[in-house]
Amino acid sequence: MTTTLEPARPAPTKEAQPVAERATSRRTGRKLLAVLALWVLAWATLRGRQTLELANADTTGLHDWFNDVRDRVQLLGQDNWFFHGVLGTIASGLDTFVGVLQEHLSSVTPGDWLGWFGVLLLAAWVTYALAGLRSTLLVTVVLLFLGLAGLWTDGIDTLIVTIVAVVICMVVGLPLGIAMSRSRRTSAVVTPVLDAMQTMPSFAYLTPIALFFGIGPACAIVLTLVYALPPLVRITEHGLNSVAENTVEAGRSLGVTKGQLLRQVQLPMAKRTIVVGINQCTMAALSMATIAALVNGPGLGKPVIAALQTLNVGAAAVAGLGIVLIAIMLDRTTTAASERSSPAGQRVAAVGSPGIFGGRTLVLEKLPRWATEEGGRGTDRRFLTPSGRRLVLAVLLLPVLVGAYYSTRYLQLSQFPDLSGVPVLGELTAGPLGGHINDLTNAVVDAISGVTNGFKDLVTAVMLNPLQSLMSDLPWWVMALVLLAVAFLLGGWRPAVVTLVCEAVVLGTGLWYDAMVTLTMTLVATVIVMLVAVVLGVAMGRGRRADTVIRPFLDGFQTIPAFVYLVPALALFAATRFTAIMAAVAYAVPIATKLVADGVRGVSPATVEAARSTGITRWQMISKVQLPMAREALVLATNQGLLYVLSMVVIGGMVGGGSLGYLIVQGFVQGQLFGKGLAAGIAITALGIMLDRIARHAAARFGR
């Protein structure tokens, strides 16, 4: 599935383009209406025929062939030089490595390298060295909570997978980013690969990677690598390339070599950006490390999946809380480390806010100016000079090592004590905590179930059902033609060709009907996302107060790994398609909102003032000036929203979302459905590429 994903924007002369394009924009609208009319007509007359619907247990020849391939690969795995020699060695190497770490760090038998107390002490010490006192406290509290809640083993396993993946990412990604910034050719070769890695919904490559690496820790790490590497490489390249041109020139004029330029000028100046990249990489890795539980990866994802499959919200929430706390801990720690890495007082305007990840097309967030100015003032209070801190670290090292040593000797320090009998603290252990969460959830759900169910029924009846019927309950070739026409009208012939190819692929997988259901959910969720994003984004772009209030929530939402969104969505909406849609909405709203807010804020103040001088009302200002001028941001937000939504809607297959995502999950559960799951992954990828292509070309045409 290699595709070239360079934005192939037509680049005609600047003079002639806009008139022609804008003139066509209204005509395009009319043509789209005509397509819609024909579509509805075809649906009304041909409904229910040739829908290519496939029952859950049914398979096609292709699926069976995939099963054969799997069997053969598994056989080959025993002696073929590639499968056995190369992939097998990598897989078993990673498995062993992670296994050794697990055995000595997260398992709870005395006599290993470290008991929980030693892990805690060392983690706190390392955090203090890298990030400072506040992060150290946070790490301590989070680790203690994991221990209390009985999540110690799984929590540390999650951290092991995440950190091993991040370390590999850094070893591979940093040199790659540097190489890309130094050679245009390298960049041209690698960028499309990164694009492909980021466009594919993470669920889509679960199956093939599991096929090659076998399920287990190795597969989890490879999956995490695919997902977490692109942001790091891109931000590294971006950071090096955006070192001010005149600084580089000044360096050259002094006669530095390329290597000196890199070491003395570019790397120091890009350091903060690169650390931001490590932050993004870490958060992406954590997100994927939890999903990797589906391929038997170790960690907190396992209890979440187990609980989701039995619809046990309380248990899922406890494990989910553990994941969220780990996410906050990693985010704050890497952010603090990045702040520490910039010289005091000299705070580069943030190129990317920590928290934007999840890796679709990389969007570096532009913060409003006041945010960076104020952030610069408040946060940089240091109690100690660097040398003072080094002294403290050195002095603390001894007690840490002694503590670590004793943690291997005493059961209480090695194995996290069971505190369920202790008052207060006992309430935080897994059983009672799950109970409390269940009670709380029930109370909340009862209180608002009228609203949520009403909303669910309304959206289902007004949007979801009609659209799904319209898209899937008619001959496949009608829908294929409609998609083709829409792609052509919105983006021109290039995306139309891509659409044709993707349609052929989806048809080939034998999952056309399911793909259309997934597409319906994606579109409905994207519409909701854009409605919310426009309302919030306009408020944020127009008013500093709204921005101050809303932004922290968006940041918080973005820190939470995708997987965890399923838990509250399940609690509120039970196991239906709608649950998957709402989880996708929650996942995509922050990024879309930030992009819209950014666009509205970016409208030239001169224009806003000129409009004000004509005696404009607030509503006229929004509808006639700010939104039209932020069109580019709106289109970009829609593009990003679509891709985020697609990846999450698929994951929602686990909580009743059905269709393609469900097939992938089934592929892991039932051996004879493996091929069908693999085919579903291919269909998802095709859908993703199709949506991305159409949206990008539409953006190039109408987003100017």
């Binding site: 806009p18 008139v19 030239s604 000129a610 409009a611 004509t614 005696g615 039209p628």
Partner: protein, 364 residues
């Protein structure tokens, strides 16, 4: 129309009731507690001292003036003098800290948001330095924007906008988008947009500062022509003294938020209020601005200059030079009623012209 423009040149200040725009005691203090600062002795401090002491910045300090109907009133000052703040206070795009602004008989300062919006829609329009056009609308729709805002029918506003297109010389460019036009043409769109609503007062905030010198000169001529044709009251902000002298019936010079001098161009050049204005005007070609009133001397005897035709005292020196030099002796200068107020001879004329030539930097 032309008569009005010329006659207003000689009017200095009209009383507040008949003025198109009347400003009294206008203050703008930027800072956290600007309102509480008024009436305290702190306001007597200089800008720098006040900022150091309390973090407040005085944008406009106690400004009062009147603009007569049909007059072109220029506010001139260097950057930071408060002139752009002043023009925004006049339509409350920035809220004044104190003072009143009466526009066409209505006090803007006490108005509610709705009334103010109505004033902006009907009575006053602005032209901005950076045009402030809407890039997603065609030229004609940009011009019709103000009409659209106030709810006029599409056909009505299109035809009105078309008139404005023709008036500012953009015929043929109606369907282009702003970014397809040059800077000068974009500002013509801004001008047409301001004129479309047929406001009583037009305000210009350094409208030509972003344009090339040649285009700027064209646009200045354009404003003079439009003023002759439509006779609007104009308040014109600029940092360019030449522009001020060329366009202004009267000029207000600002410095550090305060008025330094208000007067007709020849008053500014002939009788600068202080060294600041004198320095400022030192390089202006005086013969282009000064009238005979500023160079004549009292007649030595009753019949001096009787041999040559008399010249009015409002004649600019440069224009009078040929007649005076051609005459054998001194030439009489008469005022509007025809009474002799003085005489000029070759010497008086040459003194102005020759001083200029010693200062070649005047050729700007």
């Amino acid at each position: 129309m032309t008569d009005l423009a010329v006659s207003s040149r000689t009017t200095s200040a009209t009383d507040a009731t008949s003025a198109a725009l009347s400003v009294r005691g206008l203050w703008k203090v930027f800072g956290p507690n600007a309102d509480k600062l008024l009436g305290t002795p702190d306001l007597e401090l200089s800008r720098q001292e006040l900022q150091a002491k309390s973090g407040h910045v005085i944008g406009v300090r106690d400004v009062s003036f009147d603009v007569a109907p049909g007059e072109v009133f220029v506010v001139m000052g260097l950057s930071g003098s408060g002139k752009s703040t002043l023009v925004r206070l006049l339509t409350r795009l920035i809220e004044p800290t104190a003072g009143t602004v009466v526009l066409d008989g209505e006090d803007l300062t006490g108005m509610g948001e709705d009334q103010l919006r109505e004033i902006r829609r009907r009575k006053v329009s602005m032209v901005f330095q950076h045009f402030g056009l809407l890039p997603h609308r065609k030229v004609i729709d940009n011009i019709a924007f103000g009409l659209e805002i106030r709810g006029e029918e599409k056909s009505g506003r299109r035809s009105r906008a078309q008139e404005m297109v023709d008036l500012v010389g953009l015929t043929g460019y109606e369907l282009n988008y702003p970014d397809q036009l040059s800077g000068g043409m974009q500002q013509r769109v801004g001008l047409a947009r301001a004129l479309a609503g047929d406001p009583a007062v037009l305000m210009f905030d350094e409208p030509f500062s972003a344009l090339d010198p040649l285009i700027r000169r064209d646009m200045q001529k354009e404003v003079i022509r439009l003023h002759h044709e439509v006779g609007k009251t104009m308040v014109f902000i600029t940092h360019d003294l030449d522009e001020a002298l060329k366009l202004g019936d009267r000029i207000l010079i600002m410095r550090d938020g305060e008025i330094v001098q208000v007067g007709a161009p020849d008053e500014i050049i002939g009788a600068p209020a202080d060294d600041y204005v004198r320095d400022f005007t030192a390089e202006v070609p005086k013969s282009h601005v000064l009238t005979l009133r500023w160079v004549m001397r009292p007649p030595g005897s009753a019949d001096e200059g009787a041999g040559a035709p008399a010249l009015p005292d409002t004649t600019v020196v440069r224009e009078a030079a040929r007649a005076v030099l051609a005459a054998d002796g001194p030439v009489r200068v008469v005022d509007a009623s025809g009474a002799v107020v003085g005489v000029v001879d070759d010497e008086d004329i040459l003194r102005v012209v020759v001083v200029e030539q010693r200062a070649p930097a005047g050729a700007r």
